[in-house]
Symmetry: C2
Subunit: 398 residues, 2 copies
């Protein structure tokens, strides 16, 4: 049977992410590739206890069908989490999603017709690019510096594309760059968007994991007209395997969102919603996040130290204040897919920069994840990368 696919279906069978994960799955390979949390920090025993309680107390309820918008008790707990993030919301504004990835997909479906413009940081989260492309969007990137998205450039782009459907941004410890948007720029972004009547999708999976610098409130904190749709997740502060995220939005938007969410999977796994809710009752999540943050701080600092030791002197790298990623630019390297191959030969992996650019690829760039590898692996892995970079630079000379 020859299937006649829509344009939503990628023509080729390239699945860059899957390929990278596959290459990195070789146990010999030290992988700075995937955006994986440190599994040794997963609270397995506490989750098991929570699950036992849920089966004992709510066994028949959690195994039954449930509401598309999500378990109300968990949504109330998210209201509290949001309060700590300086965002005041009501129950109607909060919905549970099957990972915040699902929210990105459904929002794109709600707002993007083929050819519509979506504005993102350049570079940005690769699976958001995949989603926007699958809806036929025209992704327009805004350049960044150490203070995050350049809002002066954004202002120009919004004038050029007044019909842009939304601005997608990861203000905290951005994926892939690890950079954080300043408060000044956040306020400015919200104002630009409001004036142009363009919604903002604020993706904040990493915000809670800050180990340096000062807390900056989310864009949603500065939102006065409901134009900011805020996404977050338990993936980085608890466990990604659960596929448990949330959306905070204007009530009228939520009503529409929930209808598409119901079409997409009826509702998110009810059992896991209850387990996470019980976990939040039993365990001090702030303490748990502090433990994660402490380990990631150590790993980030170690990785930076190793980069400074083993990479060429002229490399640029970001200095994240939290999250899981460092962005590196090595002058003279060119296509980092070539560097990737050299690294795989030396049993170390990362994600080439090309995956994160919707348009022009900045040469010599790549993303390093520091959360998923231990000290010895970081030391040895960055050393191997240094060796691979030297090989590539030496090849490129001829």
């Amino acid at each position: 049977m020859k299937f006649r696919y829509t344009k939503s279906v990628p023509k080729n069978n390239d699945n860059a992410t899957a390929e990278i994960l596959k290459a990195a799955a070789n146990p010999k390979v030290i992988s700075f590739g995937g955006g994986l949390p440190a599994p040794e920090l997963f609270p397995v025993e506490e989750m098991k206890t929570a699950a036992d309680k849920v089966f004992d107390k709510y066994g028949k309820v959690v195994l039954q069908y449930s509401e598309a918008i999500g378990y109300s008790k968990l949504r109330k707990q998210i209201i509290d989490l949001m309060k700590e993030r300086k965002v005041e919301v009501k129950l109607d504004n909060v919905g549970i999603v099957t990972g915040s990835q699902q929210a990105i997909d459904l929002i794109a479906r709600m707002l993007l017709n083929p050819g519509d413009v979506v504005i993102t940081e350049d570079p940005t989260y690769l699976a958001a690019i995949d989603v926007f492309n699958s809806y036929g969007a025209n992704i327009v990137g805004v350049s960044m510096d150490d203070d995050g998205m350049k809002t002066d450039d954004l202002e120009k782009l919004v004038k050029k594309y007044p019909e842009a459907k939304f601005i997608y941004t990861i203000p905290n410890f951005q994926n892939p760059t690890g950079r954080t948007m300043t408060e000044y720029r956040r306020k400015k972004l919200v104002k630009i968007a409001k004036d142009a009547e363009i919604p903002v999708v604020e993706d904040d999976p990493y915000g809670a994991i800050r180990y340096a610098g000062n807390y900056v409130p989310p864009l949603k904190h500065f939102d006065r007209d409901g134009g900011v749709i805020y996404l977050s997740s338990f993936s980085k502060i608890l466990a990604p395997g659960l596929r448990m995220g949330w959306i905070v939005a204007d009530k009228s938007f939520m009503n529409k969102f929930v209808m598409l969410k119901q079409n997409a999977d009826l509702h998110t796994d009810n059992l896991t919603q209850y387990i996470v809710s019980q976990f939040l009752i039993d365990v001090d999540i702030k303490k748990h996040i502090k433990d994660i943050t402490h380990v990631y701080e150590h790993r980030a600092n170690l990785m930076v130290k190793q980069i400074d030791k083993y990479f060429p002197q002229n490399v640029n790298h970001s200095n994240p204040e939290g999250g899981m990623f460092i962005w590196v630019e090595v002058p003279g390297v060119g296509d980092t897919n070539e560097l990737f191959k050299a690294c795989i030969r030396n049993n170390v992996a990362f994600v080439p920069g090309s995956s994160f650019f919707a348009g022009d690829i900045k040469p010599g760039t790549f993303r390093l994840n520091f959360s998923n590898m231990n000290d010895d692996q970081i030391k040895e892995g960055i050393k191997r990368m240094g060796k691979s970079i030297a090989e590539i630079l030496s090849d490129n000379k001829y």
Copy 2:
């Protein structure tokens, strides 16, 4: 902020399903509305044991990110389940989805452009209609009789719409009619579809729950060119709250499907995949399905007996051989949404036929679910419905 939505977003805020569930949520109401399994049959203790084993054996693995196509061990177990359903498949053909609802949504996205024809039984599953409508499809219904979709009519429709994108069918204990397609018609449907080069989406959530008549193999059993995409689920044979379904399809189709699945939610909840897999090792699922089937048989027979006693003599109703639904047609009632209101006043609920027709609504029709209520509720509820029908028929006389 005024959001500029795509046509995927329903213009009105009607959510028939949600309204019905809400009305039925009143504890005074006896509800034959939702397609809910009997919660007293959920194997809570066995699931708890499975969860404990999973946390002990695979705690760190199940909490981590995983593959979009699903947990390979669970997929192997599904190969065995499929073998019992007389379908031989390989690992590459099997994917895990967040409920088979997700597969319906993603397949529609892969195949339906606005205006494209999709052929379904008339009436059909309401959440499939919602999905197809959200992609702007032109849903063309094929009439049914007690032997399922009329394949002679299908043949004519396929000639009229040679560009139809797929045929969506629920051959076993169809939702909403409870009817089952004969083996003769299954073979014929597969041949018609193959000759016309139109894929078939076979949705089979209820097939394992047969309490009368003879087993009929799925359409997929008769498929020789990979044109049949088969969907099933653990919702009815285990628990729907888990949102755990599967897709069986041609390898080339699966490759594409998995890319969109990855966009949609990265992967299905890993913890629950492992729990279901462990449950299938620990518990004899065939025995468990037999227990469910036995209870449902009793309830279906009781409901039919009560219908014959309390409904007017001239009603038509289906006589399901399995599944969860009876379809009723009461001459003279007209709009069953009016009957629904009368029933709610008498504290009993069902789903009006209008929800299941994409085109013309057959008057006086509605769906009854018999799996979710106990003997006393079925006896009392059908009695209340009989009273409500009498009220409506008496009103309609004047």
